[in-house]
């Protein structure tokens, strides 16, 4: 059993090539079907995102030539000249391939270290291939492992926990106050580029309602349409500030548009429910004195940039911990793989010994004529019993003892030793 990976990513290929070598869902489906139909791979899965195109697979016969076949297939499939594609492709097998995938799903291989999107993309790629019936026991286990790595890295390290842009820093802060945002409302002041970014983040985090307020109504309507939001007329502060939990301000204005007294008034009207204010305007859109109001949290652009800067350093320092998790999970997967292979080996050995026994008896018994048919049968049964007895103990120990499985690193060598003259299953 062997796992093979052929692919390219943002480190090995320029964007033009990545574009040409990427797979749409329909293409991915066609590719896995063809790879299996042509007998290049037995199990297969395509992982294609904007930063990587990778094909994972299990070939029918363990051999390194499979990767060559796979890269020729890719150049043919995408109609890219072999020499051009080959420079950017990496080939990896077994442990290295497993490790690569686990690092990918941990976000360690991403362009933006620790980004969360990749885990969803891995999950989606797996679901897609699984539903198509293209995966088998090995890839199923492998990708379940990869998803586990992703989850563990996100839960146990801060690799992905810390926001890396001003917009996401603001949204994450809101989550520190309100928890999940899916029953919360946000008010967005201004409909420019920055507002758009924040709205996108809020939307991603599942915010329930978005209100948009802008001097020019047309832009407000446009932004509201993009995010299923509602438009509120500019200047209707009492109405606008009553329901939201988060206010994002990014308006070009000389003077603060949100004055302390508006907010003081609004807080009283809303029963002092907590209000998180994100002031992204320069000059500032929200009067700084508003920070003193009870249950108000006010962050301006410098506060948020400071957080992003802090996080960049923190993220880097989390890499070793994430790598440790990856290593642990790789070990776990390989130990599973070895156990499956060892059990398979024992089964193959048993089948082989039984066959040998049959031909042995046939050859030797011919000359012994004084035995009755009954005696022969009993003799055969006794030999079978002996074989079973010899095989039973190692088989049981292999199933039961994890440590033993770990020690037997090279199952192929054992297979060569005992089943040398036979075809590898």
């Amino acid at each position: 059993m062997e796992i093979v990976l052929v692919g390219l990513n943002h480190r090995t290929a320029p964007v033009e090539l990545r574009e040409r070598a990427s797979f749409t869902a329909e293409q991915a489906g066609r590719a896995v079907d063809e790879l299996r139909a042509r007998g290049i791979l037995e199990e297969t899965l395509v992982l294609s995102t904007c930063n990587r195109s990778e094909v994972y697979g299990v070939p029918p016969v363990a051999s390194r030539e499979c990767a060559q076949g796979l890269s020729s297939f890719l150049s043919e499939f995408h109609a890219v000249r072999h020499e051009v594609l080959n420079v950017s492709l990496y080939h990896q097998y077994d442990r290295a391939a497993v490790r690569h995938l686990f690092r990918v799903s941990a976000g360690l291989d991403s362009m933006l270290l620790g980004e969360a999107e990749i885990l969803g993309q891995v999950r989606e790629a797996y679901r897609f291939a699984h539903e198509r019936g293209a995966t088998g026991p090995v890839l199923n286990r492998l990708f379940q492992g990869a998803l586990e790595v992703g989850k563990r890295v996100r839960a146990e390290t801060e690799l992905g926990a810390r926001p890396m842009s001003v917009a996401s820093a603001g949204v994450k802060l809101a989550e520190r106050i309100f928890g999940k945002l899916n029953d919360r409302t946000a008010l967005v002041l201004g409909a420019g580029k920055i507002s758009e970014q924040v709205v996108e983040q809020l939307h991603d985090r599942g915010i329930a309602h978005i209100l948009v307020m802008n001097r020019s109504r047309d832009h407000a309507v446009e932004l509201a349409r993009e995010c299923d939001g509602k438009v509120i007329e500019w200047g209707e502060w009492d109405k606008a500030l009553l329901s939201p939990d988060v206010v994002v301000a990014s308006v070009a204005a000389e003077e603060p548009v949100l004055r302390r007294e508006f907010l003081e008034h609004a807080m009283a009207a809303r029963g002092n429910r907590a209000l998180f204010l994100m002031d992204l305007g320069v000059p500032r859109n929200i009067e700084a004195a508003a920070a003193k109001l009870y249950n108000v949290y006010l962050y301006n652009i410098d506060d948020l940039s400071g957080i992003v800067e802090q996080n960049r350093a923190a993220r880097q320092s989390e890499i070793p911990r994430a790598e440790t998790i990856v290593d642990e999970q790789v070990g776990k997967f390989l130990s599973w793989q070895a156990s499956v292979e060892l059990v398979g080996l024992i089964d193959a050995l048993r089948a082989r010994l039984h066959e040998e026994r049959a031909s042995f008896i046939r050859a030797r018994m011919e000359s012994i004529t004084h035995l009755s048919a009954d005696d022969r049968q009993r003799l055969e049964a006794l030999m079978d019993e002996l074989l079973e007895k010899l095989l039973l103990e190692p088989a049981q120990r292999l199933r039961g003892e994890k440590e033993l499985r770990r020690k037997i690193q090279n199952v192929e060598a054992l297979r060569d030793l005992f089943l040398s003259n036979r075809e590898k299953p």
């Binding site: 802060l173 520190r176 106050i177 309100f178 002092n272 949290y297 962050y299």
Partner: protein
């Protein structure tokens, strides 16, 4: 944590077999029961709110309570003249209430600390690991609710015993007064925590204050002030 809980349960069981009732005769026994119930409530809340991130911050406080129990005076107090199932319930429910209040105290402390960091925009690394303010508030509320229900039942059982032992429902004793005060203060907390003026930090401060009253009731009043309720 679950394992510890189970192990602790058996230790308690052993102890109560020896005593034929809930271990409330000495401070160590009741503190041990207290710690166990505290962990139990916490696990309950964790399951109820489907949130596990608070554990790491609550556990140190639970440990502090245990340490305090160990260094507390261990002299035996006079045994209460009451026995039986309903009395054991009185003891267990009261300690359960104290444990629930202790938990809400811890949650409120964390709330105030985190809120201060967020309000002052001083985000150290710890903020990103803390549970959200909203969750801390909700957990503290449910914890107080558990405490209130159990202390209410526990107190009623207590008064029934007072009646049984002395023939009258009520006579003046600081312990009874302070228990009713605790009840009142926590009802107040639950009411105020939903009002405009008290929502958030102020309610949390009240919750912390309330717990000091509880501690007073558990220690000073029991040891020095009460005439007839000088046990833990």
């Amino acid at each position: 944590m679950l394992l510890g809980l189970v192990a602790h349960y058996f230790a308690l069981l052993e102890r109560s077999r020896g005593l034929h009732t809930v271990p409330y005769h000495d401070l160590y026994g009741s503190m041990s029961l207290f710690g166990w119930l505290l962990a139990l409530i916490y696990l309950g809340l964790e399951v109820y709110h489907r949130q596990r991130s608070v554990g790491a911050f609550v556990l140190p406080f639970i440990l502090i309570f245990f340490l305090a129990a160990h260094f507390a005076p261990t002299d035996r107090l006079s045994l209460p003249p009451a026995r039986g199932a309903s009395f054991a319930f009185h003891v267990t429910l009261s300690i359960l209430a104290y444990a629930a209040f202790a938990l809400s105290f811890v949650l409120s402390l964390i709330f105030l600390g985190e809120q201060r960091l967020l309000r002052n925009r001083k985000l150290s690394n710890v903020v990103w690991r803390l549970p959200s303010l909203e969750l801390l508030e909700r957990m503290s509320h449910s914890s107080v609710l558990v405490g209130l229900i159990s202390i209410a039942i526990g107190t009623v059982l207590g008064f029934i015993w007072v009646d049984r032992l002395t023939g009258q429902y009520w006579y003046y004793d600081p312990k009874y007064v302070i228990t009713l005060l605790v009840l009142f203060l926590y009802v107040l907390y639950l009411r105020l925590a939903r009002t405009a003026a008290w929502r958030g930090a102020r309610a949390s401060r009240l919750c912390i204050f309330n717990f000091f009253v509880v501690v007073m009731s558990f220690t000073v009043v029991n040891l020095y002030l009460s005439h007839s309720h000088r046990y833990f």
